[in-house]
């Protein structure tokens, strides 16, 4: 033997899946939604995403190198994902300096001040987004409307999101029938031809990405399926009782951040529970809070808040919803 022999404890073989590969799988899964946003919002979507990604990577580099003086981990893909997801939660016409502030909050406050990858309690991209939403509510709810305006960012006409239109309409005593007449059809919502944040446009694209993540086993079905089913059931109950005052479950699922949240934000590995039981509780919590905010709260949309609130419960969920220990319940059938 030319080199010294290695002595280490078993196992002596390891799976070739690394955290880096998991992260880049998420990036791949986000591509369809990004392409749709380019089609819908044009150059604006590209600028917002590029600024968010670059500033997230840059802040991570600067903070780790000069403030924390630790190893720089910008290559692991996590800051890249934070950047993309932050951009996906912003309107496409947001001023660039605001995007940079959001990135600083996401990376600096929500991620690195907790200790970096794996130690953050809250989803960094969502913290950045919510910080911007409460700081700059006007700019954060100016939604350039779809397709026809995709060339000229400066003259972009802004309009409300479908959820915003519903909330406003209902507040002024309008009926769902009248409101729905002005809404994009469910098919348009599914394809992504309505107003909203960059990444939440197309249900179809998000679903494709989600299926890719499931296929690659980056995520399991527990969080997205539980969350969407619970949302559908809850909004469905209200809709059946009073279809004139409540939107249909399909509108709720296809509009706003439901699909983006279910597949990409709530499933964030670091900030979601580590057992399957826990994931189901977590997803139900998100769905309930989202629906309560959408139907009865001041904001038209509540997915971001719901996920952040449930993020805070994750340590508790991990403590109380443990996997069943083998042999702890003796239910053997001796025949």
């Amino acid at each position: 033997m030319s080199q010294p022999i290695i002595i280490s404890a078993s196992p002596h073989v390891h799976s070739d899946r690394t955290s880096k590969k998991l992260m880049y799988d998420v990036v791949i899964a986000l591509i369809p939604a990004f392409l749709v946003s380019l089609y819908v919002f044009g150059i604006g979507a590209f600028i917002v995403t590029a600024v968010a990604v670059i500033s997230c990577l840059l802040f991570e580099y600067l903070i780790q190198k000069f403030l924390m003086k630790t190893d720089v981990t910008i290559g692991d893909g996590s800051a890249l994902i934070t950047g993309i997801l932050l951009a996906f939660n912003l309107p496409s016409g947001l001023p660039i300096w605001m995007i940079i502030v959001g990135s600083l909050v996401a990376i600096g406050v929500a991620k690195l001040s907790f200790g970096g990858l794996g130690f953050n309690i809250f989803n960094p991209a969502l913290v950045g987004r919510v910080f911007l939403l409460v700081s700059f509510p006007v700019q954060m709810t100016m939604w350039p409307t779809a397709v026809e305006n995709n060339t000229t960012m400066a003259d972009a006409v802004t309009g409300a999101t479908p959820l915003g239109m519903i909330k406003e309409g209902l507040m002024f005593g309008d009926t769902m029938t009248n409101i729905t007449a002005n809404l994009p059809s469910n098919l348009e919502l599914f394809l992504g031809l309505s107003g909203g944040s960059i990444g939440e446009m197309s249900g179809l694209a998000l679903l494709l990405g989600g299926i890719y993540l499931l296929y690659r086993k980056v995520i399991t079905w527990h969080i997205p399926v539980t969350m969407l089913v619970t949302m559908a059931v809850m909004t469905g109950i209200f809709w059946v009782i009073d279809p004139e005052s409540y939107a249909s479950p399909l509108i709720h699922i296809l509009s706003g951040g439901a699909l983006l949240g279910a597949f990409f934000m709530a499933t964030d590995l670091v900030t979601s529970p580590m057992t399957k039981k826990g994931m189901i509780i977590f997803a139900i919590g998100i769905a309930v809070i989202t629906v309560v905010i959408r139907l009865f709260g001041a904001y038209p949309e509540g997915v971001s808040f719901a996920i952040l609130i449930m993020n805070a419960f994750v340590p508790l969920i991990n403590t109380y919803f443990k996997p069943r220990r083998f042999g702890s319940k003796i239910k053997s059938k001796i025949v």
Binding site: I5, H12, R17, F119, P323, R324, G327, K333
Partner: protein, 442 residues
């Protein structure tokens, strides 16, 4: 649908490159180093001295207590010294060194015993013979077989499960033995059925050994009460608790044994050793060893005398290839890395695995990203990330409360961890300390 255990498990690349290689007989080595602690429990007590002449199969170390086992001379020869030699644990252990007598014909003429189906011994005599012949579990745990078979009056025992799973990647020793000695193994099963007054036996074989499954189905056609169960390929199905759960749906209670749910599990290799002990009074002095590795010239399966230095095996398969970085006694998931090639083959050596640079090195440990993979794959329903953390921080009471002691050390958690965290290393460390704390309390 193939049977399997429901919670956890992994499917690493199987790499069973020696599956087609028939078991060859290794030449008797010039010198054998026979350790006196080859089994779990109390080491055997040496009953020979320097310069003693020993014949093949003679007892050279006697069982040292209830959980212990006799050790026999694998060769005819002379005891040259009683020495401390590094074994697969990495520590120096007491060994009996015997120089083979080059003239004694018993060392070179191996009689292939014909199949003998009539079982003449009575149950009591069978158990005594198993004790005398030094039979231990050959699946890897090397638990003295007579202790396992010592079933107290009044205990409910209704199933014997034969473990032909061999879920470790690379290893094919049990697979080849099943193919080559199927009829003998079935006689061995009937011996245990007689000894334990058992009516029901299931042979569990994973579905990557279809030839063995169909062979056993053919052999047991006329036998009453013996079944073959084809199992889904999933590691660690060869673990007793997982196997019992997979085949019978019974869950061995926490800190319990299969016997608590009326089951005894034995490895196919053990059953063959029992067959030879009962029918031909042959003690356990040899076993099947898979010598394997991707870069080896001629990886194969061998009948090897206990005490044979591993370097003899390596020479037999064409020597160590360039770039070898690790030698493993056992399979890649649970085997032990060994220090040098002088380490002797013992009763528990199911394989020797030669690993190159690429496979040997672990990735750099990164932050835990809390993905939960370790929790999903743990077959015992534990939370490896938590146990590692608690062990690392010295919170042993908490670790004990989180059932650290029920870990079977299968290594599935370390295998899947995408951040290459040394989960099992810390869990083992924690287990050792918890064990010490618990003994000092009592």
């Amino acid at each position: 649908m193939l049977k399997t255990f429901p919670k956890g498990g992994i499917h690493p690349p199987e790499n069973k490159i020696t599956a087609e290689k028939g078991i060859k007989r290794m030449a008797v080595p010039k010198v054998v180093n026979v350790p006196i602690a080859q089994h779990i429990g109390i080491p055997a007590e040496i009953v020979v001295d320097r310069k003693d002449k020993v014949v093949k199969g003679q007892i050279i170390a006697k069982s040292g207590g209830f959980v212990s086992s006799n050790i026999h001379s694998p060769v005819a020869g002379t005891v040259t010294k009683l020495d401390l030699i590094i074994d697969s644990s990495g520590y120096k252990k007491q060994c009996i060194v015997i120089r083979t007598d080059a003239k004694d014909p018993s060392n070179f003429e191996e009689v292939e015993n014909p199949l003998k189906t009539d079982i003449e011994l009575e149950p009591k005599e069978i158990l005594q013979r198993i004790t005398d012949c030094g039979i231990v579990g050959l699946g890897g745990a090397t638990f003295p077989s007579q202790v396992k078979l010592n079933v107290r009056e009044g205990t409910t025992l209704d199933y014997l499960i034969i473990n032909g799973v061999e879920c470790e990647p690379y290893l094919t020793a049990d697979h080849r033995l099943m193919l080559e000695k199927a009829e003998e193994i079935v006689v061995g099963i009937k011996i245990l059925m007689k000894a334990l007054h058992l009516k029901k036996v299931v042979i569990g074989i994973e579905n990557n050994k279809k030839d063995a499954i169909s062979l056993f189905k053919k052999v047991i056609k006329k036998e009453d009460g013996i079944q073959v169960a084809a199992l889904q390929v999933k590691y660690p199905q060869g673990g007793e608790k997982q196997l019992v759960r997979a085949i019978l749906g019974r869950e061995v209670p926490k800190n319990g044994l299969p016997l608590d749910v009326g089951v005894i599990v034995h490895n196919v290799g053990t059953i063959f050793a029992i067959y030879q002990a009962i029918q031909y009074d042959k003690p356990l002095i040899e076993r099947v060893v898979t010598v394997t590795g991707k870069k080896l010239q001629n990886p194969s399966n061998f009948w090897v005398k206990i005490g044979t230095p591993i370097k003899d095996l390596i020479a037999e398969v064409g020597g160590l290839p360039e770039g070898t970085r690790k030698l493993v006694n056992g399979g890649p998931m649970m085997g032990k890395a060994i220090k040098n090639t002088d380490v002797p083959v013992t009763k528990g050596t199911s394989g020797i695995l030669v690993i190159d640079e690429e496979e040997a090195s672990r990735g750099e440990a990164k932050n835990c990203i809390r993905c939960g993979q370790c929790v999903f794959v743990c077959p015992m329903g534990l939370e490896p990330h938590l146990l590692m953390n608690l062990s690392e921080k010295g919170m042993y009471d908490k670790a004990s409360a989180e059932d650290i002691m029920t870990c079977i050390e299968c290594g599935s958690c370390s295998y899947v961890c995408p951040s290459h965290r040394p989960l099992l290393d810390y869990i083992r460390f924690g287990k050792n300390i918890v064990k010490k704390l618990e003994t000092s309390k009592n």
